[in-house]
Point group: C2
Chain length 156, copies 2
Amino acid sequence: MQLTSIWRIVEVMKHALNQKPDYEKELRKAGVRITRPRRIIIDILTSTEDHPDAMKIFHRAIEIDDSISLSTVYRTMNLLEEMGAIHRHAFNGGPSRFEQAHGEHHDHLIDIDTGAVVEFKSDKIEKLQEEIAKSLGYDIVHHRLELYGRKTRHSS
Amino acid sequence: MQLTSIWRIVEVMKHALNQKPDYEKELRKAGVRITRPRRIIIDILTSTEDHPDAMKIFHRAIEIDDSISLSTVYRTMNLLEEMGAIHRHAFNGGPSRFEQAHGEHHDHLIDIDTGAVVEFKSDKIEKLQEEIAKSLGYDIVHHRLELYGRKTRHSS
DNA sequence: TTACCAGTTGAGAATCTTTGCAACTGACGT
DNA sequence: ACGTCAGTTGCAAAGATTCTCAACTGGTAA
């Protein structure tokens, strides 16, 4: 265990508790343990604006606690993704990049020219999905809707 | 070059030309060369009912022409996916599995317990997607809708 | 038919991601 | 506080996918 970074950890936890009061509750509700690596990784995700890949998250994490392993980063990303807490994007074969899901669920429109991601949400679509699943004998646990498009060109 | 399997190749090509008269035209139209590896891989995809992963496709391919490399299988899958000719599915971290896109576009409902895939299509949803994209200033090139669910349990 | 050349391939290295397993540690009950 | 144990972790190794680059080959034009 790294004792040298104890204060940074306290700092992080304090920060984390302010920014995302629900995550830990969500996690516990899902029967998931709140471990130190997870707390640190979640904090990194909630306090960043960019869409880091696993390696980047790993590097940021080991600055806070250098015992964290890359495996754990990956495992945590998968866990959070399944919970719907983050989204994973993979552009043209590069490594997956992750983004914190905002409180509300939303879908994505990806600009195939620039990779830009636009978030949107449609209750109508959600409702239709429910109906379809029901008619097929299923309950939806979660879903993924991604539109790939390019900016509309007018005239020309 | 494998000359030993020349007759199998002729067989394959004949077959291919019957089953999917459009693929090669589509490919050429997209400025893509029709090479022997691609022909063989496409034939494998069009003549199978299951959802093979890259390694399985590779093994089937080298039975016809043992000079084909795994790299080429992956490259071809990416190519076909971009063209919309096949769909890629990735269940719980396992390797990607591929499925020929049927003439008609369709979406997927994935059983999270068994991995079973149900195909469906909803004009309503398609239409809503168009509207949403339009209102965001985009034209949809393609999209992916995946519902993850589990069989509805009655009573109990 | 032949020559040409940009697109494609095979092989292996590099990169990205998951997994097996022994050691460790939260959460819960006492 | 303390013990317990299923859930987690770190590490190393395996597995999956992409990349690099020299050699090769379809399609085109002469």
